[in-house]
C-alpha cells in the first residue's frame, strides 16, 4: 500500500465518521426519500398468472370450480330476470291494449248495424269508448 492509498483510507475513516453524525432531520429526510423510492421500484417479473382455483383432493367429490359452475347460472340470472320480467310486461300490456281495441270496434260495429250510431262514429274515439262503457253496464 503506497502513501496515497494510506492517506485515502484515513480520509475515508474521517468521512465515514462525518456521515455517521448527520443530524436527525437529515436522517429522517433520507429515510423518507428511500421509502418514496422503494414505493416506485420497477418490477418486471413474469406477468401475473391466474392460478387455477382450489380443488378438493377427495376423489369423485365436486370441485369448487364444478360447484361454482352448477350454481353459477343463478348468479348470472341476477341481471337477466328483471329484463325478462320487463319483456313479459310489455307483451301483456300490448295484448291487453289489442283486446280493448277489438272490443271497441265490436261495439261500434254493433251500434252501426243497429242504426244506433252514424258511420262517422268509427272516426270518433270517444264515441267508441262510450258505447263500450254502455255495453259493459248492460251486461
Amino acid at each position: 500500500m503506497n502513501n496515497q492509498d494510506e492517506f485515502g483510507i484515513r480520509i475515508r475513516q474521517a468521512l465515514n465518521d462525518g456521515a455517521e453524525r448527520l443530524d436527525y432531520r437529515t436522517v429522517l429526510r433520507l429515510e423518507q426519500a428511500r421509502t418514496a423510492a422503494l414505493a416506485r421500484q420497477r418490477r418486471t417479473g413474469p406477468a401475473t398468472v391466474r392460478l387455477p382455483a382450489l380443488r378438493l383432493a377427495t376423489a369423485g367429490a365436486p370441485s369448487i370450480d364444478e360447484d361454482r359452475g352448477a350454481w353459477g347460472w343463478l348468479r348470472g340470472a341476477g341481471w337477466v330476470t328483471p329484463l325478462l320480467a320487463l319483456a313479459i310486461g310489455f307483451v301483456a300490456i300490448s295484448h291487453w291494449q289489442e283486446e280493448l281495441e277489438i272490443e271497441r270496434l265490436a261495439a261500434l260495429d254493433f251500434a252501426v248495424l243497429l242504426d244506433d250510431g252514424p258511420l262517422e262514429a268509427y272516426a270518433d274515439q270517444g264515441f267508441g269508448v262510450l258505447l263500450q262503457a254502455e255495453r259493459r253496464s248492460e251486461r
Partner: protein
Amino acid sequence: MATREELSEFLAGVERRAFKQAVFAVRDESHALDIVQDAMMKIAENYGDRPAAELPPLFTRILQNTIHDFFRRSKVRSTWVTLFSSLTSEDDPDADPLETLEASGDTRTESTETSYQREQIVAIIEEEVARLPARQREAFLLRYWEDLDTAEAAAAMGCSEGSVKTHCSRATHALAKALRERGVTL
C-alpha cells in the same frame, strides 16, 4: 432481480455517503437532499429490477449524473437571474453586492466552535474535500470513499483511467497540503 428488501438495504447503506458527496459538490444540504432523493427515485424506477450486485455502480453513476444535472440547471438559472438582475439592478440602489458574497465566504471558523477534537478534524477534512476542484474530488471520493478501482471510477466519471489516476494524485496532494496548513495530521 433485487427484492424490495435488498434495494432498501442497499439504499440505506449508501444514502449517507451519497448525501455527503452531494453536499461536498453543491455546498447546500437542502439541494443535496433533493439530489439524493432524485438519484434514489431514478435507480428504483429505472433499475429496480436489476440484480442487487449491479446496484452500486449504477447508483454511483446516477448520483454523479444527478449532481452534474444540478449544476447544468443552476447554470441556466443563474444565466437568467444575471440577465434579469442586470435589467433591474437600478431599481434597488440600496442593494449591497457583498450580501451575495457572504454565503460563499470562508467557513473555516465554523469547526473551531465545536468542542470535540475528532469532530473538528472531521469537519476540517470535509471542508477541504469540498474545496477540491470538482473532478479531483469526484475521482478521490469514488476511489477512496466508494472503494471503486480505477476502471470503475473511470466508468462512473466517463473518463479514462489515466485521468482518474491524475485527478486522484492531485486531490491527494492538495488535500494533504491543505490539512497540513491547518494543523491536521492524520
